[in-house]
Amino acid sequence: MKLNQLTIKEAQEGLRNKKFSSVELTKACLDQIKKHNPSLNAFITVCEDSALHEAKKADIQINNLTIEQFNNYPLLGIPIALKDLFSTKDIKTTAGSKVLENYIPPYNATVVKKLKNAGAVSIGKTNLDAWGHGASGENSDFGPTKNPWNQEYVPGGSSSGSGVSVAADMCLAATGTDTGGSSRLPAAFCNVVGLKPTYGRVSRYGVISMASSLDSIGHLTKTVEDSALIFNLTAGQSPDDATTPNKKLPDCIKNLKTEVKGLKIGRPKEYFTQALDIQIKCLTDNALKKYEMLGAEIVNISLPHTEYANPCYYIIQPAEVSSNLARYDGIRYGNTRDEFGDEAKRRIMLGTYTLSTGYYDAYYKKAMQVRTLIKRDFENAFKKVDAIVTPVSPTPPWKIGEKINDPLKMYLSDIFTVTANLAGIPGLALPIGFVGGLPIGMQILGPQFSEQKLFEIGHAFEQETMFYKQKPLLR
């Protein structure tokens, strides 16, 4: 096993026991990037010099710290990639768009600060659909990212580069954002684990805003345990983000159980309709059978307003996008507005329209009211079950170019993921198998602030199936 193929947990152990150094580990990741990024296009910026510098520093620290002290820096010497929406001080941050192609932030996003404080080595900025607008990675102004399992196919988006960099072992974890599924979909399409935390659980400060009431700051990892580890570091109230509540954070990695006996898992019928690819339906139902085998109870439930979620999302999200993109006027930083790509322009126009006088009540306000109904669907469901399992995508990964000329078709790939963002609840996506050689994922949804439970439920399935041990064949 090459060093870059390790999980965070495995790398931690290796570094702690001085089996290898951070420099060796980082070099292994950088080599992988050098070899495969030209074809996969997962990175916009690779921080080779600074990463090695940080790795060297980490090695010195590792040598000087006691085991106890070492445990205070859970990511010491571990190479992490950052989605290019995360502001990194003095390192170019483009949002995947030509508008910011040369923008260098003067400050770090709060999550970046936290990961660095935990000792992480920042290996680079990953590619994405520009501004987070997309479900395939094809909307990047810097070329599409390819799925490492079959490079003719999309890796899912908008955190496409993050999904691929983890799946292709170019790093041990990558940050992502999830506004309508942007961390869960690439996780599902790349055979990795993707977390969308509860809205407000993780500070958004420094992460370029897409839709402020829907954006959730997540991450992609190889295993569920790694995901819990990162969540432990990024979550918590922050004085720089007024939407982070003062809610106690449990230690999600301590005592990560695999016990699901007695747990009630909901299967919502609205997610298993004709719209769902039959093979994905099979895999998902198999996953549920597995949970039954492990002692959980599968409960049929209904989330009656599911069909309104996507239209609702595509009214609220572009509205907030149109406002959040207004600052990119080219006066203080960045290039001018004519550099916006087609999808960005599309959403700006849609959003401006739905907020304008005479249309606000019929669109934005109405959509916000429907949103409350969707939220209530989940609240009612969670009175009956502990968690809900659904597919992440109605279809397997599609071919690059297949949906790009049909924006509406592209929007429909979000039908199962937008519900969690509208309701503000957390979702954990993890692998459940393959269709035609391409990864498929399921998502576990829980009530607000139930991430610990999601990790446990996910961990149980993962330990039973070990899909994460499968790696894509890269030439």
């Binding site: 003067p106 420094g206 992460v207 907020l355 006088t357």
Partner: protein, 489 residues
């Protein structure tokens, strides 16, 4: 045809909080090096988020309470979306339909003994009571529509073809106070502004200097035709002698910007009223527009007219959770308010037996009023009345050793009393010397003595005066009077 001005006022007050409205940058920007107090938030950098300033919100509520407003238990911030180089985010965080305070009032004419009674078009029952009271006491009621919180924009400076932007002012807390169109002339507007300025200075929430831009105003001015009885139809001749007005507001209004001093307020409004009157008299309607006051030309000028009215696409600010204020929190803010100027004025008149004139001078600034009361407490120990102290302070010119005038509040109460006593000190005089002096005066002023004996009181005054002149020092007049009277018998 006569026209009556219909004027509404929008006033922006900059709060003197330590930090800006949504970030912890320093709020004080006057005289600072450009772009020296900025951060990702007030620069609108990608990824920055607003976190509201709690103190600013408290102060906004207090201003609302001082203006007799209802305070909302539930309020929120909204985004006002528009593009301008001084607006870094492309939207201003403001309040749209759930402001902190609404439906208040300010009363004018409290400083005049008599003001002509005037009618107000109040259609709201809440204000009928106050309007009635106002009518009874001949005061004018200006209704406050709302008092809300927002953030200031950056400052633009134009030099030749270049425009420079200073973001020090971007994000500074701004309270917006909007009145109903209840003003009828420039004088009322000036009075209202002075009251508002005094209130926010009393509350300690703003220096409200118009010259420094800490208080800005935008009047909305239009004219309404007034039909005189002589021009009215026969049926309405019942209201003989009274003017009747149409109940609708005019179908246009002109906003005036860039008025930077009290002096210009009166000039700008009066110019605008005249300008509109001329247009209306010519049978046309003034264009609905925004005009700017040109200080050099001493007139209002058309600012670049926008093609269409701005659609601000207001929606609730998703980055800031709504603010819920409980009744106890609201009453807590009220209890923290200092005594307001009009209450203090009334109390000074009553408690210290002062004239309105003296009380007004002494309560003009809270700092001076507070110091005055400290002096009063010291004066009580020396049996000096508040009236005497007031008289002393208002009329005396306080100069230091170099002969330069100084602020009397810089004197400690103890020193003030000492000064008062020394200036009014009467030297005790030898009784025998006084007797001798009076004997002289009586001898030398036989006619006056005769006049006094025949009942002329003024003669006594004359004799007292003459006695005083006999001495270099100040003598207790009472003593002189007593002795004189005795010796004249």
């Amino acid at each position: 045809m006569n026209y009556k001005p219909i004027i509404g006022l929008e006033v922006h007050v900059e709060l003197k909080t330590k930090s800006k409205m949504f970030c912890s940058c320093k709020a004080e920007y006057f005289g600072e090096k450009p772009n020296s107090n900025t951060c990702p938030v007030c620069l609108g950098l990608p990824g920055a988020l607003p976190v509201p300033n709690k103190k600013a919100i408290e102060w906004c509520v207090m201003i609302g309470q001082a203006l007799n407003c209802k305070i909302n238990n539930f309020s929120k911030f909204d985004r006002k979306n528009y593009f301008y180089p001084d607006l870094p985010k492309g939207y201003q965080i403001s309040q749209y339909d759930a402001p902190f305070s609404h439906n208040g009032y300010a009363i004018l004419g409290t400083n005049e003994e008599k003001t002509p009674e005037s009618k107000t078009d109040s259609g709201q029952s809440t204000y009928r009571m106050f309007t009635c009271q106002a009518r009874m006491t001949a005061k004018r009621v200006i209704r406050i529509r709302r008092v809300h919180m927002e953030e200031d924009t950056a400052k633009l400076t134009h030099i030749g073809d270049n425009s420079l932007i200073d973001f020090n002012r971007s994000g500074v807390p701004l309270v917006e106070i909007v009145t109903e169109p209840d003003f009828e002339n420039a004088k009322e507007v000036v009075e209202y502004l002075k009251i508002l300025q005094q209130i926010v200075r009393y509350l300690g929430v703003s220096d409200a200097d118009m010259e420094k831009g800490y208080m800005r105003l935008e009047p909305n001015i239009s004219l309404k035709p007034v039909i005189l009885a002589s021009e009215a139809r026969p049926e309405s001749k019942k209201d003989a002698g009274q003017a009747s007005m149409t109940n609708d507001l005019p179908n246009y209004k002109v906003e005036v910007k860039n008025i930077n001093s009290f002096g210009f307020v009166k000039k700008a409004i009066e110019y605008e009223i005249k300008r509109q009157e001329e247009i209306l008299k010519g049978g046309k309607t003034p264009i609905q527009e925004t005009r700017g006051w040109d200080e050099d030309k001493q007139k209002t000028v058309t600012q670049r007219t926008k093609e269409e009215a701005n659609d601000y696409r207001y929606f609730p600010e998703p980055d800031i959770p709504p603010i819920c204020l409980s009744e106890s929190q609201i009453s807590n803010f009220k209890s923290q308010m200092p005594e307001l100027p009009d209450i203090k004025l009334a109390r000074f008149i009553k408690e210290y037996d002062l004239t309105r004139y003296y009380a007004e001078i002494l309560t003009r600034e809270k700092r001076k009023a507070d110091h005055f009361e400290k002096i009063i407490r010291e004066a009580n120990k020396n049996n000096i009345s508040p009236k005497q102290i007031a008289n002393f302070i208002v009329n005396e010119k306080f100069v230091n050793i170099e002969g330069k005038e100084f602020d009397w509040t810089l004197m400690s109460p103890v020193n003030m009393i000492k000064l008062h006593l020394s200036l009014n000190k009467t030297t005790s005089i030898d009784e025998k010397a006084l007797e001798r002096a009076i004997k002289n005066v009586i001898a030398e002023n036989a006619k006056a003595v005769e006049n006094f004996k025949s009942g002329k009181e003024t003669a006594l005054m004359f004799l007292i005066g003459q006695t005083i002149r006999q001495f270099k020092e100040k003598i207790d007049v009472k003593k002189i009077t007593e002795m004189l009277k005795k010796m004249l018998q």
